[in-house]
């Protein structure tokens, strides 16, 4: 049992912090600009693909540095020349724009890289077990993912709470008009936040690509979970995004690791059903099998009982 707990916690943290790298950008962009960016996870996918292509010629580490930068520049351009124009036609138009962008990016990725899974590998340097506990190995690469995510979290926190730009961003979360009325160039800040947000998504793609596999469906799979995270945390709340990311990461990880289900539950009540029972699928259901739907279950519960999310503020 202790080995399950240790490894499930570590893996949960890896997933949770990875989700936070995406959720932080998404929630910041939403609260400042009112845009729910459906294409956010597509930038995550672009990060993985760019890094893969760069790694083929220049190695993993070059990709780690340049792929997020390229993704961030693309993100900033999309905001400046796409979203800002669409913005004049209202939020629905923006929503549809980001929706279309997500499909466009998926098609472009398939066009250039094909529909197959890419053989994007972890770097040689990190191909060793970081430690072995109870006979189980924890790879150095997962440790590296954890370190990068924690580093990004600390950096983001410092910038937002200590720097003048951070204060302006915090202020713009609640009152973007007032920030502009005080003479701050809010459109430029929007572009910068969008650029940095998409670059962080790209970075998440770079480090997750080798572990979670790099294929054209990766944006959709992670993207839906990131939305769950942002809604559960409370739209616009960074602490909420962190809390929900870790919650979902750990929840999924524990659900997969702990192999209990209906048979065990029924046994407590002394019940047992024959294998040829018509509802056999239900009686043999276990936690591992329902792990993928747990985030969505949580989403529904949160929306019913706490519509503003765990740490969100009620909209005016």
């Amino acid at each position: 049992m202790p080995e399950i707990l240790v490894f499930a916690t570590l893996n949960g943290l890896v997933t949770g912090l990875l989700l936070f790298m995406l959720a932080s950008g998404l929630t910041l962009i939403f609260s400042m600009m009112g845009v729910l960016n459906f294409a956010h996870a597509s930038f995550y996918m672009l990060g993985a693909y760019f890094a893969y292509s760069i790694s083929l010629h220049f190695g993993y580490w070059t990709g780690l540095i340049f792929a997020p930068v390229i993704v961030g520049i693309i993100g900033a351009l999309v905001e400046r020349y796409g979203l800002r124009r669409v913005h004049q036609h209202g939020h629905v138009a923006e929503l549809v724009f980001t929706f279309g962008l997500a499909f466009l990016i998926e098609e472009v990725v398939q066009f250039f890289w094909g529909p197959d899974t890419k053989n994007y590998q972890t770097p040689e340097l990190l191909n060793f077990p970081l430690f072995t506990l109870f006979g189980q190995e924890f790879s150095a690469y997962r440790g590296f993912m954890l370190a990068i995510s924690i580093g990004i979290f600390i950096g983001l926190y410092q910038v937002l709470t200590r720097s003048r730009v951070g204060l302006i961003i915090q202020a713009a979360i609640t009152h973007p008009h007032m920030v502009a009325n005080l003479g701050h160039n809010v459109p430029l800040i929007f572009t910068a936040v969008f650029g940095v947000g998409t670059a962080l998504a790209g970075l998440a793609g770079v480090i997750a690509g080798p572990v979670l596999t790099t294929y054209p469906g990766m944006a959709l799979v992670l993207g839906s979970i990131v939305f769950v995270v942002v809604v559960i945390g409370g739209l616009g709340s960074l602490p909420g995004a962190l809390l929900a990311s870790l919650l979902i990461g750990l929840l999924q990880s524990y659900a997969i690791a702990v192999d209990v289900g209906m048979p065990e539950l029924l046994a407590v009540f002394g019940l047992e059903f024959p294998r040829d029972h018509p509802l056999d699928d239900l009686w043999t259901l276990n936690l591992t099998r329902i792990a993928p739907i747990l985030p969505f279950l949580l989403l529904v519960l949160v929306l019913i009982f706490r519509p503003t999310g765990l740490m969100g503020k009620r909209e005016q």
Partner: protein
């Protein structure tokens, strides 16, 4: 300082401002009066670029209609909105810091001075803005705009819903602002304050300016007050 001529604005399909014209000179206190819903706040928002304006808005001789809000603010036009818009998660000091347009303090106002003028803000310097009372938020909102050293400020209903003691302080601050040569366009509903501190007054009705004059002439114009101001 500020010249507005034939200003029109729409909320969706409703034509809210129908050719508003008025002017504010340097160092002048001018009040914009009128009942609720006649377009006073919209006029101010249109000047700041928050509502899309059509017409002439000239500030210090330059047309600013249609420019982005941050650019208008940088030209020296300050705005204190009706709902105060204090940044709730930031401390009182941080709110004031964001009023400054750059990191180096300059101009007519400093944080030190604001704290000396209003000890109640100094005492709560490290408290989140959202925890302040309505009156404290109003003073903070005005001081925050002053930190940007504007040559003119647009102030929307600064005394609405405040206790008499704070209303006095707001009035004192308005006079202090004017004494430093900063022009004020005050949107008000309370006639007594407007009459006490203004050099000139405009009355709005149905999206237009319907009367203009001095406090003295308004005091005598009973029929104007009855038609456009009294409920």
């Amino acid at each position: 300082m500020l010249e507005v001529a034939d200003l029109n604005a729409w909320y969706g399909k409703s034509h809210v401002l129908r050719g508003v014209s008025f002017a504010v000179g340097g160092g002048e206190i001018v009040s914009l009066l009128g009942r609720n819903g006649v377009g006073r706040s919209t006029t101010v928002k249109a000047i700041m670029g928050e509502v899309h304006p059509e017409g002439l808005i000239r500030f210090k001789g330059e047309q600013i209609a249609g420019r982005p809000s941050y650019e208008i603010a940088r030209r020296g036009l300050g705005y204190v909105p009706e709902n105060r818009e204090i940044f709730p998660t930031l401390t009182v000091r941080q709110n004031l810091l964001l009023g400054m347009k750059s990191t180096s303090p300059s101009g007519r106002w400093s944080i030190k001075e604001v704290f000396a003028m209003f000890p109640l803000l100094a005492d709560r310097a490290e408290v989140p803005g959202g925890a302040l009372s309505g009156g404290e938020q109003q003073l903070l909102s005005m001081c925050r705009t002053l930190m940007g050293d504007p040559d003119m400020v647009l102030i929307d209903e600064p005394t609405e819903g405040l206790a008499p003691k704070i209303v006095e302080q707001v009035g004192d601050l308005l006079r202090e602002i004017a004494s430093r040569g900063v022009a004020i366009l005050l949107v008000e509903q309370k006639l007594n304050i407007a009459l006490r501190i203004s050099n000139r007054l405009y009355i709005m009705g149905q999206g237009q300016v319907v009367w203009e004059g001095t406090p003295e002439s308004l005091k005598q114009a009973n029929e104007v007050r009855a038609e456009w101001l009294e409920v």
